[in-house]
């Protein structure tokens, strides 16, 4: 069940990551990511949105091999990542799927000139480029990102650059590897609004001109809409809705997506503050019982939501939602029997 027509570039199947919490006596499992399946195609920007604590950064770290999955598997170009054993294979994967981090102030080494990270990436991942040519290649990459006077920027230290420039350097480091898929974890949330758009445009340009795919992780749905082709919504470790970005935003099927959309401040829209304004908070998912994790906040919750964890169901072309009520409304199931129980 992929949403990508041809063979996907990267696919996650039933991806699960638990963390042990508590002491030796009261050992418990925090379910950061539970049974998440998705695919990312070539030349595609996929946005992963959700509240803090929903597990979206854990997904990024699983893809970047910072964590190993508790269960489930990630396939890159059809090959399972758990099969990557040799240093050569791992390096090759990391150069194809690099990560860009949230905080451009913390993710560059302050003791080195910015050229350091880029040149090091070139040395590690691009053996085809001779040592003498690396500098020229670094300048080419930096210029491509719209940093002026490329040669000059490379010789500066991170503290001499603005936030927007630093984040471009973060992208330059990733681009030096000739990546196929960039995992960008909140790449613009620390930046001022006036420079944010520049980086979002840059992401779209990388997709259009170089065919790079992106997993854009964000809590800002409006920016996800601006740049992404598809969007996936996470809540408490589950993927609750996914689909083409306009379909999901214009016709959200999951009540959580609806809640998220209602919460987005939009100066162009009239103020709608109903009495049902949500004051709930996402649960900490520690050793959860079966059932929909959104049910306590959900205006539509019915009995079955207490007992059965909803599975993602395709409700419209390529548009899935994991909600018993939405499935029943679409005529694809009955509320009493929809979904299957978590075993």
């Amino acid at each position: 069940m992929t949403d990508v027509d041809e063979a996907p570039l990267l696919e996650a199947r039933s991806l699960t990551r638990h963390f042990k919490v508590g002491g030796a006596i009261a050992r418990k499992n925090l379910h950061a990511v539970d049974d998440v399946s998705f695919a990312i195609g070539e030349r595609e920007i996929v946005a992963l949105v959700g509240e803090s604590g929903s597990g979206k950064s854990t997904v990024a770290r699983l893809l970047a091999r910072v964590y190993k999955p508790t269960a489930g598997e990630i396939f890159y170009q059809g090959r399972p990542l758990s099969g990557l054993r040799s240093r050569k294979d791992l390096l090759a994967y990391r150069s194809d799927v690099p990560m860009v981090f949230q905080d451009p102030f913390a993710s560059l080494n302050p003791a080195y000139r910015v050229s350091h990270g880029i040149l090091r990436g070139l040395a590690l991942h691009r053996p085809d480029i001779a040592r003498a040519d690396r500098r020229a290649e670094a300048e080419r990459i930096v210029a491509q990102l719209g940093l002026d006077a490329a040669g000059d920027v490379l010789d500066r230290y991170p503290y001499e650059l603005s936030g927007g420039q630093r984040q471009r350097i973060g992208f330059a480091q990733a681009l030096a590897y000739r990546p196929r898929l960039i995992v960008a974890d909140e790449p613009v949330s620390m930046l001022d609004v006036s420079v944010r758009i520049g980086l979002l445009n840059l992401m779209a340009k990388l997709r259009d001109e170089q065919g790079v795919s992106l997993l854009y992780i964000t809590h800002d749905i409006a920016s996800a809409r601006y740049v992404a082709d598809r969007v996936m919504v996470m809540y408490a470790g589950h993927l609750v809705e996914s689909g083409p970005v306009e379909d999901v935003l214009q016709e959200p099927k999951h009540p959580y997506t609806q809640l998220l959309l209602d919460a987005v401040p939009d100066p162009r829209a009239p103020l709608t503050v109903g009495p049902a304004t949500d004051r709930g908070e996402p649960p900490r998912v520690i050793d959860p019982a079966p059932g929909c994790r959104f049910r306590r906040r959900c205006p539509l919750a019915v009995d079955v939501c207490e007992q059965v964890t909803p599975e993602p169901v395709e409700l419209a072309p390529r548009h899935r939602a994991a909600c018993h009520v939405a499935v029943a409304n679409a005529g694809l199931g009955e509320l009493a029997v929809a979904g299957r129980s978590d075993s």
Binding site: E51, S52, S162, G163, G164, D192, V193, S194, V195, R196, I197, G198, L200, N201, H219, D220, I221, A222, S223, R225, Y226, E246, L249, L259, L260, L261, D262, A263, V264, P265, D266, P267, R268, A269, L271, V273, T277, D278, R279, E281
Partner: protein, 336 residues
Amino acid sequence: MASAPLPDGLLSQEPLLQVRGLTVEYDTAAGPVRAVESFDLDVLPGEFVGVVGESGCGKSTMLFGIAQLLSPPARISAGSVLFKGSDLVTMTARELNATRWRDVSVVMQSAMNALNPVRQLASQYEDVMRAHGEKSSSVIRQRSEEVLALVGIDKTHLKSYPHQLSGGMRQRAMIAMALLFTPDLIIMDEPTSALDVVAQRSLMVQIKELQQRLGFAVVFVTHDMSLVSHFSDRLVVMYAAKTVEIGPTRDVFAHPGHPYTQGLLDAFPSIRGPRVPLTGIPGSPPNLLNPPTGCRFAARCPHRFELCDIAPDMYDTGHTLAACHLHAASREEALR
């Protein structure tokens, strides 16, 4: 020049807070940096004023200047902050202590850092009340429960430590603390920026409800213009230490007079309407150590013309006041 930064029709009302010519300098090795320059603001009783601007524009320094919370190397080099007629700038520490919390309270950006991590909420509330002369434990307890109820937190959390609360609850606990004496003015420095959209929205709605119920005035600083769009009565836009535009919030959004305000508005993608390509604002703010003598936004401005070498006054655009020569009635007025 239109100098009174108040909407017409409200001029008759006595302002609660009158900031005039507030200038804050940071002493650095390279010389003084003016982080806030000649800042004027009037706040009426019960009014909600939003202040927006990007990082480094001086908005937080301005708030700290109003609340007299600046510490060296920052200092107020000029201006006055009249609160109910008395100048906070020249007040002694003792007088300030009596005013703080009782008449003016401050809600900081990060509740995690503003609350004491090793003390229960009850004891932190008690601290505030005892410092202002409340001796009765039962009164303190009752009031603490009342303010927590106001922000929708169960009173059992009086026995909680900050780490036991979620981010949204901590921020609400801070607001409850600010309400202990029902002050006339609450100053808020990005109280929602550590929260995600849903929690942010519910906190904003709650602040607005409390404000309408209890009648306090709010000065609310944020970098996210769209956040205050539905909540503030008036909006101040700051750029490079100065006010560039001020006006009723809806007018600022509907008829922005300053190109910087326009640029900020154009930088927000929307979840509704057609998907249009946006540009943001190219360039970066000027170095305040050596700011340009003319308009500070000129280097990034798409409408730049020869007059921009002269620092603009605030001009009435018909909707808002904007510091931009585009709105000067004539060339002579600009050159005056």
